[in-house]
């Protein structure tokens, strides 16, 4: 059973201008994106800034208006836009934000931050609430004394874990993570990534993992979708994407990742040069006149690539 199904999702932002501030056009942030996520898996959404990956995540979360398309969660249509009806489902989907410095209210104590979702959805006595928060905090490796502290008293990694505690408070099934470790140092990043894998196993969570860091994505994700200009250019298992990239954009992206072995430096520079040439030479074989990707075509059971009709 598919947990999340996104069908032909389009999110357009109006561009206003002219005399009466009329709508004069659209920015097509997400332009026809479809993908499925199975329960328990980690699905990676990769792309550069402006590719629409965050907008896609926010649309699933209900933070953006959907222009067109359908989002099903566990078989139920999410964007049916009747208020109230989706409240129970919304509990199951939570989000972890990119920047642990700005996603926690600096004027609230950790207790209030983590208890906020509980107060919205569950009726709990003050005592129950406190116990639940304490349990959640110990789950993310923070002591009970941190309940009365404020966000500024914590390090980046600890803050991100407070964000995680808040996200898991309502026992969600799907967590959307938007660049959860981009703002963190490598050693802290390792800590948070490990921790997320642990709670995924323990709580049987499904992740939608949005990132531009391919090393991290490869470490975390089972399947990956690559976005460019609001569309998917390639989707497949981690192995498909990294070992057998088909689309020229994916190739270029994979080639651009810095190699950790300085002995390969010369090779990498040459390889990148070749891929760059290939990219500029065959650009119009992979993108249409508007510079947009074509529809995805399956090339194996798991691997889909955006190629033109003729092939």
């Amino acid at each position: 059973m598919t947990l999340l199904k996104v069908e032909d999702l389009k999110v357009y932002f109006p561009v206003r201008g002219g005399v009466f501030n009329r709508k004069i056009g659209d920015i097509k942030a997400v332009d026809g994106v479809s993908f499925d996520i199975e329960p328990g898996e980690t699905y990676g959404l990769v792309g550069e800034s402006g590719s629409g990956k965050t907008t896609t995540g926010k649309a699933v979360m209900g933070l953006n208006n959907v222009t067109e398309g359908k989002i099903y969660y566990d078989g139920e249509l999410l964007n049916a836009d009747k208020k109230g009806q989706k409240v129970d489902i919304r509990k199951d989907i939570q989000m972890i934000f990119q920047d642990p410095y700005s996603s926690l209210n600096p004027r609230k104590r950790v207790l209030d931050i983590v208890a906020e979702p509980l107060r919205n959805y569950e009726k709990m006595s003050k005592k129950e609430e406190k116990e639940t928060v304490q349990r959640l905090l110990s789950r993310v490796g923070l002591g009970p004394e941190s309940m009365v502290k404020y966000p500024h008293e914590f390090s980046g990694g600890q803050r991100q874990r407070i964000g995680v505690a808040r996200a898991i408070a309502l026992k969600p099934k799907l967590i959307i993570m938007d660049e959860p470790v981009s703002a963190l140092d490598v050693s802290v990043q390792a800590q948070v990534l490990n921790f997320m894998q642990e709670i995924q196993k323990e709580l049987n969570l499904t992740y939608l993992f949005i990132s531009h860091d391919l090393g991290v994505v490869k470490h975390m994700c089972d399947r990956i979708g690559i976005m460019y200009n609001g569309r998917f250019v390639e989707e497949g298992l981690k192995e498909d994407i990294f070992n057998d990239p088909q689309h020229i954009y994916t190739k270029r992206l994979v080639a651009a990742i810095p190699d950790i072995d300085p002995r390969n430096r010369k090779e990498n520079i040459d390889f990148r040069e070749r891929v760059k040439d290939e990219y500029s030479n065959s650009y119009y074989d992979y993108f249409n006149e508007e510079g947009l990707a074509y529809q995805l075509k399956p090339i194996t059971d798991t691997h889909r690539v955006a190629l033109p009709e003729k092939g």
């Binding site: 550069e48 800034s49 402006g50 490796g141 390090s155 980046g156 990694g157 600890q158 140092d185 490598v186 050693s187 802290v188 990043q189 390792a190 800590q191 990534l193 490990n194 894998q197 531009h212 860091d213 391919l214 090393g215 991290v216 490869k218 470490h219 975390m220 990294f242 270029r252 992206l253 080639a255 651009a256 990742i257 810095p258 190699d259 950790i260 072995d261 300085p262 002995r263 430096r265 990498n268 520079i269 990148r272």
Partner: protein
């Protein structure tokens, strides 16, 4: 042998917190030669940016002790008037954040012109403009004449970063300090920017100090690497040596905490504990010892020093000889390691 381009001797940069001064850069000595990229690696709070700002003389109220010899002249604590003669000219810096390093109210061309004018005021305006357009071309900005008159907000992040690089190289610096030059950028743009810095280094024969926490970037760019922890240098080596034969526990921990593309790792190594804050830095003994509690206390030196273990390869403290990762040593059960 000629003198090194930059020689830092026993630099100590302290900031005042309350009534006392705390050293963020604590007794650091380094050299940078011509046509060499020296990478300084470390996490936030390790003092790597404080070090760079000390060289550039950008600290306002810090206490700076020690010597910073640039082409043989001490530029530490030089009054701004004198410093401005070389700053932006022979010595320049690429700042980390392209969003805040540019003036939002000034056209891009004029911002580049500013640094040009300051050091070449005799050059006529038309000539300067010609040169700026050339510069913009060089950093691969498309339609440079058009961009010359644009404001920063009209450019993308990658473009802005290139403008900042153009400003930094406008006067063909002999020493370029790049503070996390690509952290805010996407990977494909990062690759282009790194190419650009590499090219400049070769063309101008400049020395480059590359400050970063991204070990991939270091492996691609650096000739030599200095690893900083808690204000001190803990290891210095050639780039090949550092990646293939890292010695200091901190360097080894850092290297094993990043997800690799080639190998599958089940778990990433997590460095125990947290980076100490400036006020709580352990000032005595091995500063990294608190981060590896499973290692016996008596393997550390009382006053850890940098030891040259092979030509050009320096490691601080003696504890590296006894270091092992907790997960690789199964027979040693005597020490219970509780995760933080």
């Amino acid at each position: 042998m000629s003198n090194p381009l930059l020689e830092i001797k026993n630099l100590k940069t302290s900031f005042r917190i309350g009534e006392e001064y705390y050293a963020a850069v604590d007794d650091v000595s380094l050299t940078v030669n011509e046509n060499e990229v020296l990478a300084i690696v470390g996490e936030s709070g390790s003092g790597k940016s404080a070090l760079a700002f000390s060289v550039m003389g950008l600290h306002n109220r810090a206490k700076i002790e020690g010597e910073i010899l640039f082409k043989g002249n001490d530029i530490a604590n030089l009054p701004p008037k004198k410093l401005n003669k070389i700053r932006g000219k022979e010595l320049s810096m690429i700042f980390q954040d392209p969003l805040t390093a540019l003036n939002p109210l000034m056209e891009v061309g004029r911002q580049i012109d500013e640094v040009l004018f300051l050091h070449n005021s005799k050059l006529p305006k038309a000539k300067r403009k010609e040169y700026i357009v050339e510069l913009l071309e060089r950093v691969e900005i498309p339609r440079p004449e058009h961009v010359y008159n644009q404001f920063p907000h009209e450019l993308s992040g990658g473009m802005r970063q290139r403008v900042i690089i153009a400003i930094a190289i406008a006067n063909q610096p002999e020493l370029l300090i790049a503070d996390e030059p690509t952290t805010a950028l996407d990977v494909t743009i990062q690759a282009q920017i790194l190419d650009l810095i590499r090219e400049l280094k070769n063309d101008l024969n400049s020395g480059v100090i590359l400050i970063t926490h991204d070990l991939g970037v270091v492996a691609e760019m650096a000739d030599r690497v200095a690893v900083m922890y808690a204000g001190q240098i803990v290891e210095v080596a050639d780039v090949d040596m550092l990646f293939n034969n890292p010695q200091h526990p901190y360097t080894r921990s850092l290297l094993s905490s990043i997800p690799l593309l080639e190998d599958e790792q089940d778990r990433l190594h997590v460095i125990h504990g947290i980076v100490p804050s400036l006020k709580n830095l352990p000032r005595e003994g091995c500063r990294f010892s608190a981060r590896m509690p499973w290692i016996d206390d008596d393997v550390h030196e009382e006053h850890p020093e940098l030891h040259e273990i092979s030509p050009g390869h320096f490691v601080r403290c003696t504890c590296y000889k006894h270091f092992y990762f907790p997960e690789e040593n199964k027979e040693d059960q005597s020490h219970d390691i509780t995760q933080s």
